[in-house]
């Protein structure tokens, strides 16, 4: 019995990581209706940037965030203004195919630069530390990840609803042309949104790299987890995304408990079941 409770608790904490994968994805979809297929590969890129930073400077992965976050934000801004802004418009094909092409390019560039060998970020004692709660033993790292997910989503909500930047995001999201008429430069606002999204991606990438080993090929899988969390939770609902991540995480750990080979499959099945029963997700945003 306690094993099952443990599996569920671990799944909830794992859901924090998936919510982090999803947060950047849903942010850019919310602002510019762009679905970035390269999102997963950008998470892996962040993990590799973390790897390079920690090995070159000899610093802790969490300290490396101070470098990787601005670096990813910069990449995001340049990517958006230099490439992705040119794909936005009425047609769905260009953004889809350009980000797909980008995904393949990032993945293979990482393969060229870092080889296919699995890598891992070394965070020292925090990786194995745990807190005993009753009969359960909770890892400090998963707890930290989950806390980070809550903090990131709360932070994004705050930016969205309480700052001038967020007002810009909401304005271009509602009506790009009128926002432009009101003096917002939508190309710049989109650039900032992507920068923010990739800064979140940096956090997700580093936490992923500390938690498990990674290689250039796993980006697609991370995109799918983030995407499933978004759809399960309901499009446009940030806290729903966290719930979606948690449901996905719990489905995976329960699947793994039944048979280790079933971990990822169980998550996909949970997603397909939600899609069949509640196509708009469990917590769809209520239109005001």
């Amino acid at each position: 019995m306690i094993e099952w409770v443990n599996a569920i608790v671990q799944g909830i904490l794992l859901g924090g990581l998936y919510a982090l994968f999803a947060a950047g994805l849903s942010l850019i979809f919310g602002v510019m209706r762009l679905v970035n297929i390269a999102h997963g590969d950008l998470i892996i890129l962040a993990a590799y940037l973390g790897l390079s930073t920690t090995t070159i400077l000899g610093i802790h992965p969490f300290v490396a965030l101070l470098i990787v976050m601005p670096a990813m934000a910069g990449i995001g801004y340049i990517l958006q203004r230099g490439l992705l802004n040119h794909t936005l418009g009425g047609d769905i094909l260009p953004p889809l195919l350009v980000t797909f092409g980008l995904s393949v390019i990032v993945q293979n560039a990482l393969l060229e630069g870092y080889t296919a060998d699995p890598q891992k970020l070394n965070a020292g004692a925090v990786e194995t530390a745990s807190i005993a709660v009753g009969e359960l033993s909770l890892g400090v790292l998963p707890l930290l990840t989950f806390g980070m997910a809550v903090a990131v989503i709360a932070g994004l909500q705050w930016i969205f609803y309480s700052t001038a930047l967020g007002r810009g995001f909401r304005a271009v999201s509602n009506n790009q042309d009128i926002a432009q008429l009101m003096g917002l430069n939508k190309a710049h606002v989109f650039g900032l949104a992507m920068a923010l999204a990739l800064a979140v991606t940096a956090i997700a990438g580093i936490l992923l790299g500390v938690r498990t080993s990674f290689d250039p090929a796993i980006g697609g899988g991370r995109l799918i987890f983030g995407f499933e969390a978004v759809i399960i939770g309901g499009l446009g609902n940030s806290w729903g995304t966290l719930a979606g991540g948690v449901i996905l995480g719990v489905a995976q750990t329960i699947g793994a408990k039944i048979d280790p080979g079933w971990q990822v499959l169980a998550g996909h099945i949970a997603f397909l079941v939600v899609l069949a029963v509640r196509p708009n997700g469990l917590f769809p945003r209520v239109e005001h």
Partner: protein, 314 residues
């Protein structure tokens, strides 16, 4: 005449694209029908490629079928399977549909990796007896697989062409040009898309079966590889010209020409192809064929309808 010209190009190009009996042309035509005409941008067609491959192995090894019969049956099974899948993933729109198809492909991959009688995660080889049942000699098998690939490509192109010429094809072209207008004219968009999805899935599974009949070995990672069966295919279509029947053909020829020069680079080749596809998508969304067509007013396959003006000075 245009058909004859095409046949000439096909045969002339045969040593390149069919020399190693490559089936990517067929995959490209099928993906183009889905994405370019029906607006169903899938990045998960490897689901059906791999399914076709695995069905070839399963039906020949456990069902005792002849490989060709097994491949055809795989197509029928894929069609049946694609209906419930479509019912689910058609709920997702646009780019979310794309990722949904990818999830389905992952479900397929993980499921087949669980089937230990087919080798589980490490895969299995086609038994010698089954391979021999095709042709006794190695050269005989190679010739056969060349003609099967060629036959498949011709069949796919002909079917897609006839489909687009038909009443349904007209509906599909209308959907491509304007969903709202098409639906206003009484076209059942959901149903038309479903038909395209089912037919494409069936053909893709057949091509998948042929692919793994050439390879003689299958594993989940190879069978459901997004790079091999989807990325290359998408780049071929985008570079050649999406939403035209000629595009995938031109794209495949360019693909093999490029490969001749860049083959040694492996991953770099895929990156170059991806970069070229991005540039084409941004600068010339109708692809190479679109440029040629606009410049010379050519059409290899008479699919368009135009108002005839016999007056001089036009």
């Amino acid at each position: 005449m245009t058909i004859a010209a095409l046949a000439l190009i096909v045969l002339a190009a045969a040593p390149w694209w069919a020399g190693r009996a490559d089936l990517r042309l067929s995959l490209a035509c099928l993906w183009n029908l889905m994405a370019g005409y029906a607006g169903l941008v899938s990045v998960g067609q490897q689901a059906f490629v791999g399914f076709g491959g695995y069905m070839l192995f399963a039906l020949t090894i456990f069902g005792g079928l002849h490989p060709i019969a097994a491949i055809l049956l795989a197509g029928v099974l894929a069609a049946a399977l694609s209906v419930p899948i479509a019912a689910l993933i058609f709920r997702l729109k646009g780019a979310y549909f794309a990722i949904g198809t990818w999830v389905v492909a992952e479900v397929f991959r993980l499921t087949f990796a669980q089937i230990s009688s087919l080798g589980g995660g490490s895969g299995s080889s086609l038994p010698v007896g089954i391979v021999r049942s095709l042709a006794d000699s190695r050269s005989g098998r190679e010739a056969l697989s060349y003609w099967l690939a060629l036959g498949a490509a011709v069949t796919v192109i002909t079917c897609v062409y006839l489909f687009l010429r038909s009443r349904r094809g007209l509906a599909l072209t209308a959907i491509r040009d304007s969903e709202v207008a098409a639906s206003g004219l009484g076209i059942d968009i959901w149903r038309t898309r479903l038909e395209v999805y089912v037919v494409t899935s069936a053909f893709t599974a057949v091509i998948g079966g042929l692919l793994f009949l050439q390879k003689l070995r299958i594993s989940p990672d190879a069978a459901f590889s997004v790079n091999d069966w989807t990325a290359f295919v998408i780049f071929i279509v985008v570079i050649g010209g999406i939403g035209t029947l000629e595009g995938p053909i031109i794209g495949t020829i360019l693909f093999f020409l490029l490969r001749e020069t860049l083959a040694d680079f492996g991953t770099i080749y895929l990156m170059v192809l991806g970069a070229v596809a991005i540039v084409v998508m941004l600068k010339a969304p109708k692809g190479v064929w679109g440029l040629v067509r606009d410049r010379f007013d050519l059409e290899l396959f008479p699919l368009g309808y135009r108002v005839r003006t016999d007056k001089k000075g036009d």
